[in-house]
Symmetry: C2
Subunit: 327 residues, 2 copies
């Protein structure tokens, strides 16, 4: 395993310490139990947004804590759910009197632990479950996974919370964004989880994994490596069908790198994806390209589309000041 | 070769088109010859900063064009110098009546082509050569290479230019920052240049390359993979000696990822590097962690240190609004 680490056990804590030191103007790190919280105080009466999940997807979620986005993030060990005590401590730290909204990616462990925390939480609370990964069928036994669309839910709901929306309104908005958001990815290599020390799956030098998950879960099928145009067409077609995207609609187009693919390729993928939608009369009104919901060192990327309206566009454009997303 | 591309020939242009579309509020793309220029007009009398170099190091330099940093960037093919016609066209486009400053990384091709452009440029101009890579001896035949410290030169001189500094003052400042900046890196894997289609160098599964260059140039030595603590100690010791860093001094500490190393590891490396300097009574007053001067998909990172004073700190803190660096 080729990683710059001291030992697998301390990697997460070492990383969070470094993160919190670099971004000490934006976040605080609570070491016991682990959570990252917003340093800049929120207005009284602002709904507190708390997310979290396994580590290894950085900058999601810790890098998205700050003004206009998350109030706290609970990082689990790599690809492992955080525990209810983290969520309870984070919620207590950032609850501002207007309730706590949990934003949870749809994975069994995360769902279970956030549910336990929700049951134990005495203050007002609600949950938004993100399940934007359309590589799995809608009736899959465990439901669809939450992937790169989570950032979009967090940004838009974060802006609404900052503007004073109620807990119920934030929850409804999050569910609405989730419904109009779809993602699907492709991996060229596996990632290597530090605690395992070897690639999660084997893939030949001339193959790729279509519909891969962000933990290196096998996707829809292993196929021969294709040109960028063919890959983009295949991924975008799935999204077009799933969201029933129509000519004349406005979309946000997000190309997310899984970590090991150079920015140069991601922007070239964006160019192809933008052409795909333009050719169908769909208007790409907003965009985001980069490594945001990563899978450690996995090579590959995903395409996420959110169907936008004026309200969502305005919330997307609202100021955000976090470690890894700001405008 | 596992890359999401259509063909090697069009990759750069496809990528620049995508980049310019995503960031159309900040930059314009001139396709013939290739350069990226700042869209937001600069004040009259502002020195124009033009940089450039081979592609494959993104976001350097194109992602650093915008208010408070570069006025234009000239991207060559992957790891290949841009040509003088690019530099001349870029300079003509952004010259604002106060002269043009070329910021050039010290590589033979870049130096030669920027020199040719400088000779042909009729307007007032000057050049800053960046050579912060202390992995090579100071008396190396081609001099030291320009690596991740280039971003620091560009940020600080960019702020000074924005504040109205003269061409001579910008040049002197750039040279001063270069002198108090040192970088050294380590690679765990090679990068793969698209046009070659295979890794630039071979390295065993239990080895790493100390002092690697950002094009996958072999470094000081190939050694056994070590713990993060040992790696950080070794790199920081070289920097400490080269810059003669003293207790009581203030530094900017930049951990730069080469592309293939997860953010989680980079922040853990930062934590160790910060401890290294704190133990020596050196004050880490500013920091930057992330993939800024990359080498395509290479795994590894570099440490850069700049000795700061009040003036440099103020210039570092000045607002910057580019695609990939903003505050």
């Amino acid at each position: 395993m080729k990683k710059i680490i001291n030992d697998v056990e301390s990697l997460l804590e070492d990383s969070l310490k470094g993160f919190a030191s670099v971004h000490r103007d934006i976040v605080s790190f609570n070491p016991q139990p682990h959570f990252i919280s917003r340093k800049m105080p929120a207005k009284t009466g602002k709904v507190a947004l708390v997310s979290g999940g396994g580590s290894g997807h950085e900058p999601l979620h810790t890098g998205l804590v700050g003004q206009g986005m998350l109030d706290a993030a609970c990082p689990g060990q790599v690809f492992t759910s955080p525990t209810p005590d983290q969520m309870l401590a984070a919620a207590a730290a950032v609850d501002n009197g207007a309730g706590v909204l949990f934003i949870v990616k749809n994975y069994a462990g995360d769902v279970m632990n956030f549910e336990i925390a929700a049951e134990m939480l005495e203050s007002e609370h609600a949950t938004v479950l993100v399940c934007d990964d359309v590589s799995l069928p809608a009736d899959h036994s465990t439901g669809r996974r939450g992937v790169a669309g989570t950032l979009i839910v967090e940004k838009i709901v974060g802006a609404a919370a900052e503007a004073g929306a109620s807990l119920a309104a934030c929850q409804a908005l999050g569910e609405r964004v989730n419904k109009v958001t779809a993602s699907i990815g492709v991996a060229l290599t596996s990632c290597t989880v530090p605690a395992l020390g070897k690639p999660t799956f084997d893939i030949a030098g001339d193959e790729m994994e279509m519909g891969v998950g962000i933990h290196g879960e096998r996707g829809r099928e292993t196929v021969s490596l294709e040109s960028a145009s063919k890959i983009v067409n295949e991924l975008a077609t799935v999204i077009e069908t799933e969201l029933a995207v129509q000519a004349g609609q406005k979309i946000l187009l997000h190309i997310n790198g899984f970590g090991g693919t150079p920015l140069m390729e991601l922007y070239a993928v964006y160019d192809l994806a933008e052409q795909y939608w333009q050719q169908r009369g769909v208007d790409v009104v907003r965009s985001l390209v980069g490594n945001y919901t990563t899978s450690l060192d996995m090579a590959g990327c995903s395409i996420t589309v959110t169907i936008m309206d004026d309200e969502l566009t305005q919330l997307w454009d609202a100021p955000v000041h976090t470690a890894n997303l700001r405008w």
